[in-house]
Subunit: 303 residues, 2 copies
Amino acid sequence: MSLLVVGSVAFDDLETPAGKRVNILGGSASYFSLAASRLHPVQVVAVVGEDFGPDQYRVFQDRPIDLSGLIRKPGRSFHWKGQYGQDLNEATTLETHLNVFADFHPELPEPYRAASCLFLGNIDPVLQLDVVRQMSVRPRWIALDTMNFWINGAREALLEVLREVDILLINEAEGRTLTGERNLLDVYRQVKTLGPRILVVKRGEYGVALFTPQGHFLAPAFLLEQVVDPTGAGDTFAGGFMGFLASAPDTDLETLKRATLMGTVMASFTVEQFGTSGMQALTDNALHGRLDAMHDLIHVAAR
Amino acid sequence: MSLLVVGSVAFDDLETPAGKRVNILGGSASYFSLAASRLHPVQVVAVVGEDFGPDQYRVFQDRPIDLSGLIRKPGRSFHWKGQYGQDLNEATTLETHLNVFADFHPELPEPYRAASCLFLGNIDPVLQLDVVRQMSVRPRWIALDTMNFWINGAREALLEVLREVDILLINEAEGRTLTGERNLLDVYRQVKTLGPRILVVKRGEYGVALFTPQGHFLAPAFLLEQVVDPTGAGDTFAGGFMGFLASAPDTDLETLKRATLMGTVMASFTVEQFGTSGMQALTDNALHGRLDAMHDLIHVAAR
């Protein structure tokens, strides 16, 4: 039983109303693995450059995160520079430097190929499909995240990999772009025709909507005193969600609901600090305390 | 034990992506009383013109709605013309004709003055305060709705009436305008200093956030196949919410949570049809079926 993630490991320059940070650790696979590894061992497939050194490796050590699939190549790591306005809902990309990521061809170490859960982070769908094809056993869960850039620019490849996917995680606006539907129930019906039988719609500060053949679930975001930096919220959610699924014996609706709350709570710690600081500082006490608080926030006695 | 509402009874011209309607029954007191009267008798204070005739009175008859405080004056009724774009989140006001509403001075019939619950619909805060002062007994619950027009244009009067209020119901953006805070926990802290100890933040398609000294509650909006016309959603919510509180023996957090779900479900029927058609057509079976479905949508077993 293992949980495999393919995605980016990167450096970010971030500017939000709360401040600025330059050259901090980022990337979908970073957020994902730091969150998921609280719940289940994680195997990472990604590429970094020579600027990725001991300070960065140290963030992942002492955790059940297998970095044997994290390849270090000559050159610089993927670098993203983004800015958020007052409402924090959407990042403006100021600069994107793919660097070593431009030639990324994920190659799974042999032990990775039998992973029971696979998360395809938001990268080129051609690479996502390549990873799926390298698996020696069909994982119990394959989940995929994507974005408008691929929906609009690599639609055919995206549709091809979606046919292999169980769970699509996507932003509300991106779900509408992908399907051409506005109503979320219509979005879900369309998504099912594309392959995934489960849909997780990420609604930012308004939480998450989970759609499954057995029923749906609406979870608000956790109420926070301050949101500092939304970067990585979606990937942290995915890490908590998939980490929970990988460690759970069941695959039923109740399990998916609990995975949704776990992802929601994990993401709440990420957005309270810049970059991966929230995930790095997270204690088991804080995690379980907030899970209880989250249950209180949404609980009402049965009728 | 009675529930008193002061607000508008009006005619609306509406245009949404789903179609157009002219001269249909609207106004905060109409939506409120049609919803609340499913749960508790309602007394209405409002003013209409000579164009308000048998067809309009018929909508309220055969329900426990006391219209002895609905005054008919020479002239025409309040008339609002509004338009919604594709996202349905905000109405553009095309025309507002106050007509007889311009000289509205609510005067409570004697039996109304001992009402145990009072809802101050979104009208001039000077009039809202006037109604509060006419009460012979302090109601158990006084709730108030308002909007940016009064927050910006009649702030002093609004602050004066807020000091008398237990529950403020307000849109997310309006709550931010009123308090100058962006974070909802900060908005709530500020609102408490103004008078209301309970805050209901209406978030449109994302549901409602309830803040109380005993704890908070986040409820999503019900998942609908189609939203036809959002007009009256907030007043319908208020009707379900206050109708539930008026009929409940308790005033604790659990009661407020259930009132929130009742308001949410009531509002879901309003937005499925134009104007008050959803409230007019609502059956007890449909209401209870959707309350059950709402519980399923948010329920997760305790940890």
